[in-house]
Structure formats: C-alpha cells, structure tokens
Symmetry: C2
Subunit: 300 residues, 2 copies
C-alpha cells in the first residue's frame, strides 16, 4: 500500500478547512427564516465527511491552473449535491438509515419533511452558486458547468443510479449491470467534480479533457468498489455510518458479485488505469495522482 | 367577472399544447434506463395541469419580444420545478395527498422512493434545460436566469415557503405572516416564471423589470388567495385534487384568516395593483393583463 505523503496530508487538511469555511459562508444563516430548515441544512452539510469530491475539484483545478477562489465554489456546488443525495438516501422510503457521518441522520435529528426539504434546497443552492459566483473565464463556460452538474445529478446520472440501485435489491446482477449502476450512482458526480474543477481554470484541449474524464471514470468506479469492500469489512464505529448494511438489505455489491479479494484487485486495476490516463503531465497532476491513492487506500 | 376573450382562449390552448409537446421532447424516453423512473417523471409532468406558470413565461416573453422557441424552454424549466414540488408535497411525510390533477399522486401510482427521485430528477432537468438550450441573447443572461430560478426554488424561496407552511399547521398566523409564507411558497416561482420569460427577449430597462416584478408579486399572491378560496368552496371533482383539505389539516389560509368574502376582495385588490404596474405598455402587455383575469376568475 502506498504511504500518503505528509505534504499531501497537509494539502488535504488545508482544503478541507477551506471547503468547510466556504460552506459555512454560502449556507443561509440559521437565524434567517425558515430557521429550522436552515439549521437542518447546516446540520447535513457541516462538520463531517471526507470531502473527497471537493478535493477532486481542487486537484483538477490545480491541473488547469485555476484560481482556488473559483475552484472552492465549484467544490461547494458538488458537495451540496452529494450531501443532498445522502439526506434523501437515508430517508425511510429509501435506504432507511439512521446514522450518517457518525451522527443521527438528518430525518432522525429533525424530521422527515424537513429532511426532504433540506435535500431539495441543497440541490437548488448548488446551481445557485455556479450562477452567482464567477467560477470560470467566461459565462459560456459557466453555463457549460451548470449543464454538466445538472446532467450528472439527474435521471441519467446520480438520481437514475439511485433508482437502479433500489430496483437491484435482492437481484443478482452481472458485473456489467453492477458497473452500469455505479457509473450512474457514484461515478457521475465524481466525474462532474473533476470536470468542474478543470473548467475553473485555463481552457484545456479536448484531448486533455478526455484524459481527465477517463481518470475520473476510473476513480469513480474504484471509489464504489472500495466502498463495498469497506461496508463488508468495517465496523460501524470506524465507518461513521451503519456497516454491513448491504448484506442485510440483500444489495448486490462488488463484494457479493466478486468476493473481497477480487474486488480489491479490480479497484487496483482501476487505479492503474486512472494513473495511466494522467501520463505525460507532471507536477500539475500530482494531487490527482495522490487522490487516487487516497481513495483506494482509505479505511473509512 | 371579466369574460375571457376568445382570442385569449385560443392563445392559451395553442401554448398549452406547445408546452406539452416540448415537455414530451425534453423528458427522457420511457424506454431509456432507468425506465420506471422515466415513466414516473412523464406521469408527473404530462397530460395535466393548467400550465399557469408557463403561460406567464410566454406572456412575459411577448412583453420583451422574445422568440417563442426560447420562451418555451424557460417555460418548461419553470413547470418542471412546479411539478417536482407537487410530487414532493404529496408525499406521506408532507401533505400526504393521494390525488393530483385528477389522477393518483405519483407516489400512489408508483411508490414513495420513486416519487422522491422523480422530484429530485425533475429539479435537475429544469437547470439542465436552462443551460443546454439557447434561451437568451447571451450566456451572461442565461447565467442570470439560472441564478434567478435557483433562488426562487431554494430555502429562501419555494422550499422555504413549504417549510414555513408545515410549521404553520394548527397555528394562527397574522395576515402579514400568512403573506410572508405565500410570497415564498407560491409567489417566488410565479415571479421567476415572469422574469425568466422577460429575460428570453430583448433586454428591458431596470424600471420595466421592476414593474414586471411588481406585477408578478401581486399575481403570485392573488393566485394563492384564490387557491385558498377554491379549496374552501370547490368539490374534489372540479378541483382535480382533494378539496377542503386545508380545513381538515387545520392549515391557516386566507379563508381561515379573512373569510371568503374578504379573501376575494383582497384578490381583486391585488389584481388591480398588478394591472396598474403594467400601465403605459399597450399591446405587449395584453397577455399579462388577460392572465391576471384568468388567474383570478378560474374555477379550479
């Protein structure tokens, strides 16, 4: 296993703080009406999470020499979408989970109706940010970013993946079907995180955008494979969310289809493919490379 | 009561068909995976509804001499947001209603999880449309439109109004508090419908934008006042949704606060204020004026 370099740890921790501060700033004040909704939005967003997607946005921003002031807004937009999906996924009619990021899920801490509205409002806020701040060289690129994020979280992206996931309970999909599900459910937003970050900076050639896209697809899938492995191996305490729930709910996973050893092997192949896509770019792609290891070697 | 002119009825019916056809075209095919989600999205969107908000978008588009090919996309975006809010509002954890537009509500026809995802995906699709099509003179105006719509449906707009509405059950708000609730819950999106339509055309002066905004605010509030009156007066058959449910759920309304006669009087005052805001513009504002009557004199 690769050792995470100290410098990368520092980079990660600085940017995690930066994203937290920016989310603090863009979320409506808890004193503003409707207070309870705003409190619940902040509860769902702040003080937790690995912020993997924002880190990918920053890393892709470094790749295109983006101003971090722009990248941080794009990173917030992606994280708002991710957090809204977690709040809705945890609802009783979906995964019915009571624990998230080591705390009671939003609908447990507040109530179901509030959690539903929290998700709805976080999604709106994500698009508002991409339109309210200067996040790219010109408005035409910003519009491209809105389109990219909207497509990534809609019925042909994340929400669609969630629907496929629900329908897959107690079925025995092939590896190809499982991959199709995860390309939508997890992959689409991770891909958006990378591409949005790249769009914040100087315009990249189509060829480089394609390579970044390939990196993002591989990393997105690897992320999910490792998620499945961790769910099968870890305890609830280390995971910060209910562990072993895939097996309990009879959800098909990479572990149920491939077994733990083969799943880890697949994840490592995906890491190699992701790193190969970045070949030919040196220093600019450093953080993207390190994030590949970070995602693959994580323990929670 | 004003008689609706034949020409207006024709205009309305042509544009209702146009919006239906455009929604048909922009909604993902029901044969595309995930099929059930796409079927449910179409179920929630097609073949029903008065399309009041899209008509306002078209009318404001005529006001700014917008190309109808642009206005129809903005109109779809607004209607997608409206429909998503209805699907989520009908869920058991919210208003728990089983009937919508004369048909079983989405979560009854499909299931709760699907209805949740339908709402989520319809919201994303609204923003995708504003970014995927050419809806304004330049990208900077399109970004403005994204911002406007996002703010209108977020926690300081529609979703926030919904949260205030939930908290108001079994309370006795003042007229001012009721107004605050409805400015968010219904007013914000109606306002966005008008302003988005205006942005599709030639750039209007700030003064005219403000007048349009005032028209939209008055119409938005009047719309809700009439909604409350209709809920109190109508039968489920004519309304196409469960009638009398405000009283059953002990929801404060303009009728519960003012009584039916005073509520109707307030609605008419708002109509007058809306029409006054349009003074000085002749033919261009014709449809906006007629829509004010249409909204005020409707029976369902």
């Amino acid at each position: 296993m690769a050792t995470i370099p100290t410098d990368f740890q520092h980079w990660t921790s600085v940017l995690q703080q930066r994203i937290e501060a920016q989310l603090q700033a863009v979320l409506p004040s808890p004193e503003l009406a409707p207070q309870r909704l705003h409190q619940a939005m902040r509860y769902a967003m702040l003080g937790g999470g690995k912020r993997v997607r924002p880190l990918l946005t920053f890393a892709a921003g470094e790749f295109s020499q983006a101003d971090p002031d722009r990248a941080v807004i794009a990173a917030c937009a992606v994280e708002l979408i991710h957090a809204y999906s977690l709040v809705h996924d945890d609802l009783p009619c979906m995964d019915d989970d009571v624990l998230r990021r080591g705390k009671p899920a939003c609908h447990v801490e507040f109530d179901e109706a509030t959690a539903l509205l929290v998700g709805d409002a976080l999604q709106s806020l994500a698009f508002q940010l991409l339109a309210e701040y200067r996040v790219a060289e010109d408005a035409a690129i910003q519009i491209k970013m809105v389109r990219l994020l909207a497509a990534a979280c809609g019925s042909r992206g994340m929400a669609g993946g969630q629907a496929i996931d629900l329908a897959a309970v107690s079925t025995h999909p092939t590896l190809a079907e499982l991959e199709f599900m995860h390309i939508h459910k997890t992959g689409a937003l991770i891909r958006a995180a990378v591409l949005l970050g790249a769009h914040c900076g100087s315009v990249l050639s189509d060829a480089w955008m394609e390579k970044l896209d390939h990196y993002a697809k591989c990393i997105g899938l690897a992320f999910q494979v490792i998620d499945d492995v961790l769910d099968a191996e870890a305890t609830t305490a280390t995971l910060g969310k209910t562990a072993g729930k895939d097996a309990v709910r009879d959800k098909p996973t990479y572990v149920s289809v491939l077994g733990i050893a083969e799943a880890r092997k697949l994840a490592n192949e995906l890491r190699r493919a992701a790193l190969t896509a970045l070949d030919g770019h040196g220093e600019c792609a450093l953080r993207l490379r390190e994030l590949a290891d970070f995602i693959l070697d994580r323990k929670f």
